[in-house]
């Protein structure tokens, strides 16, 4: 054990910091759940990619810097410290990208990765269907093989950013006689294909952060099949494992939020009369550090050749509940003003984005596998408790 950054890691941090301070937009971009904000975020992805900062862990041939996970964590720390925009490219770079690297053919990598890295093609995920939520193996949306094409029919739902995204990747039933997690394949579909209809779904804050996608005889080339036909489940689990495991929510996000919470507490300290707030602020700060420590430990393990196990399910519960506590505590600190949605610069200065963050925190225990399902997984696969 050596809990010190190396000289190289420290100079990497300085380099990231210097670049971000030069390049991060001064003004906060509009939400990427609006058309305007989406394009502004796409533009930012281009800037990142041009500086080779889009995805530092990727090989240099794909515009990365071949960083290890510790360096990735350092990058993320600097990224959140700089208050840089949220990553509209997240589904592509964190979820599809790694799967492409592992399962894609050289031609597929060539076709998809550069356009993903540059932000020219932004990705949505299509797993869930109206009747396949927690029970993802109930997927019915079909992709029937027809020569060197697939013909897709059916429906996906809750697809984040699909309203403005360019492509969707997801699981489709390619073996019509199959059931459950057999006979599914991972297929990449352009959202401007003929037969695709995207219906925006407004979220709790009124913005269409996700969408329903209808497929009506949508034809895509067999080239868009990622990995083996009917082997989609295994590949998807790799993505899901990755999402839950590490990259979806980097610790810096919560460490910055809990730092802002301490700031809010300092500002309102004098009017706080509820001692439970004091302990919640402390708890949030501790939890964010614990999450960082756990992630550093996992990253170190992966760097030395280990792998992520079922304990990754703990991570999803831990960060989503922490995020709720951070935002619930901020709402307490704002008291009766917490319900006000800031409209003017003065209101933003006073209230920040805590209310929007509080609403978004409501979804944390739902997406990426609900916390109830995660608890079942922890109990059964990590602790070995009886299944029936």
């Amino acid at each position: 054990m050596e809990l010190m950054y190396t000289q190289a890691q420290q100079s990497f941090r300085s380099e990231v910091r210097a670049w971000l301070s030069e390049n991060v937009p001064n003004e906060q971009l509009p939400s990427f759940d609006t058309a305007e904000g989406f394009e502004a975020h796409r533009e930012w992805e281009r800037t990142l990619a041009e500086g080779n900062w889009g995805m530092v862990t990727w090989p240099t041939e794909f515009g990365g810097r071949a960083c290890d996970l510790i360096e990735w964590l350092i990058f993320e720390e600097e990224y959140y410290r700089a208050g840089a925009p949220l990553r509209v490219n997240q589904n592509g770079i964190f979820l599809l990208g790694p799967t492409l690297m592992e399962y894609g053919t050289p031609e597929q990598k060539e076709r998809f990765i550069p356009a993903m890295a540059s932000g020219d093609e932004i990705w949505a995920q299509g797993w869930s269907e109206p009747n396949a939520g927690s029970d993802m193996a109930a997927i019915r949306c079909r992709a029937d093989r027809d020569g060197d094409e697939f013909v897709i029919n059916g429906q996906k739902i809750w697809s984040t950013r699909a309203v403005y995204a360019d492509w969707v990747f997801g699981l489709f039933r390619t073996d019509p006689d199959s059931t459950r997690h057999h006979g599914l394949s991972k297929i990449l579909v352009p959202l401007n294909s003929e037969g695709v209809t995207v219906r925006p779904i407004p979220q709790l804050n009124g913005l269409p952060g996700f969408a329903e996608i209808f497929f009506d005889d949508v034809r895509v080339p067999a080239f868009n099949l990622l990995g083996g036909e009917n082997e989609g489940w295994r590949i998807a689990m790799a993505t899901a494992g990755f999402e839950r495991g590490l990259m979806l929510r980097s610790p810096a996000r919560f460490q910055q939020a809990s730092k802002r919470l301490v700031q809010l507490y300092r500002e309102h300290g004098s009017d706080v009369i509820d001692p439970s707030i004091e302990s919640a602020v402390v708890r949030c700060y501790m939890d964010a550090e614990a999450y960082a420590l756990s992630t550093y430990q996992t990253a170190s393990k992966l760097c030395s050749g280990g792998s992520i196990g079922p304990e990754a399910s703990c991570n999803k519960i831990f960060w989503s509940e922490m995020d709720l506590l951070i935002h619930e505590t901020a709402m307490k600190l704002l008291g009766a003003r917490a319900e006000i949605e800031p409209q003017t610069a003065a209101e933003f200065a006073e209230l920040g984005t805590w209310l929007d963050g509080f609403m978004f925190a409501q979804s944390g225990p739902i997406y990426a596998g609900t916390n109830e399902i995660q608890r079942n997984i922890i109990a059964e696969r990590m602790l070995g408790m009886p299944r029936k």
Partner: protein
């Protein structure tokens, strides 16, 4: 000692609750969001017909002379349907304040006039208090009872300035209200004004506590229904213990918020100057329960619960707002905390109902 509601009280609640359930639905609430005034005049007229505006006004002033315990179940029923209009605040907070002013021989000629107009269903009165940054539905009030320091003013609509704020709850129409504390509007000052404001705070907290109890009931009912209808893994999601427990946990808290709220209603009626403790307990418990209900009920609905389309948002967002109006959990816990540490605090089982319940004990 008899801690039950009378048959009359229960019957009245049932009548109002069934009227509310047919008139105030998720659809009619959503219709208000896009309507200019954001309120349903036909509904308000109907509520007036049923006598709501006069319920808590003494008979001597032309009202029905009922008590907070007669109204508390109706307040709960208003919360259960997430009624947007501030009917509960009007009946339980603004009208009683006007009555207090008259009772204490304070005020000016306007006070009687405004009470008469309220009883006739012709005026709406909103109350401002330093604990609330905004007034809900201020834009549809004809009169305002506003505080400045210890003083209380009764101010007509044309003498106030409204500045709209956007609430997270689309049913709420928030405004900050400013006015010029002119002596022509003064109805009470000094100790009298301060004591009116204290009583108002308690009534406001009680009014929100009762609605929060109702909101929690409403959210549980919707979630029980959804968890019975929605199937995953070949069975209703509600068949899973994890889902059952999300709602059972709220149900437990709710069962212990109700009697606390009813005791507070009783205390505000019979011994308003000693009601702080009871009211704070009610508001704290009801707020805690409703915040938990909103979290757990969104969770039970999965991604559906995170949408604008899903009606749970109507209830959950109201709970977020009302939990903090008229003092949040922290404020009320702190009042209890201070009370508990007083040297002469009445602690122990025989004081559950205060000293007043022990008149015959030596």
């Amino acid at each position: 000692m008899n801690f039950t509601f009378t048959q009359d009280q229960l019957d009245f609640q049932e009548a109002i609750a069934s009227m509310l359930k047919s008139e105030v639905t998720a659809d009619t609430i959503r219709a208000r969001w896009s309507a200019e005034a954001g309120l349903d005049d036909a509904f308000l007229a109907q509520a007036h017909e049923l006598g709501l505006n006069s319920m808590l006004v003494p008979e001597a002033l032309g009202g029905l002379g009922l008590q907070a315990t007669d109204f508390i179940l109706l307040a709960e029923a208003c919360g259960e349907v997430a009624l947007p209009e501030p009917v509960v605040e009007s009946v339980m907070v603004s009208t009683p304040l006007l009555v207090d002013i008259l009772d204490q021989g304070l005020g000016n000629a306007d006070v009687q006039r405004v009470i008469d107009a309220v009883l006739a269903g012709e005026a709406r009165v909103a109350v401002g208090h330093s604990i609330n940054p905004c007034i809900n539905y201020a834009d549809s009030a004809d009169w305002f009872l506003l505080a400045d320091g210890n003083s209380v003013y009764l101010v007509p609509r044309d003498a106030v300035t409204l500045d709209a704020k956007k609430s997270v709850d689309p049913s709420r129409r928030l405004f900050t209200v400013s006015f010029n504390p002119d002596s022509q509007f003064l109805v009470a000052d000094g100790d009298a004004g301060a004591s009116l404001q204290r009583a108002t705070l308690n009534r406001g907290a009680l009014a929100t506590a009762a609605q929060l109890v109702g909101l929690s009931k409403g959210m549980i009912a919707q979630s029980v229904q959804y968890s019975s209808d929605r199937e995953q893994f070949g069975k209703a999601i509600g068949a899973n213990q994890a889902v059952k427990h999300l709602l059972a946990d709220v149900a437990v808290q709710l069962e212990y918020a109700k009697p606390v709220t009813y005791r507070a209603a009783y205390t505000v009626g019979v011994s308003p100057t000693r009601a702080d403790f009871a009211v704070s307990h009610a508001k704290s418990a009801a707020a805690r329960t409703a915040l938990m209900a909103s979290r757990n009920c969104i969770q039970v609905h999965g991604a559906m619960g995170y949408t604008w389309e899903c009606d749970v948002q109507i209830w959950a967002k109201r709970a977020w707002a009302l939990a903090r109006e008229w003092g949040d959990e922290g404020f009320h816990n702190n009042r209890i905390h201070e009370w508990l540490l007083r040297k002469n605090a009445l602690l122990g089982p025989e004081f559950t109902f205060g000293r007043g319940s022990l008149t015959d004990v030596a």
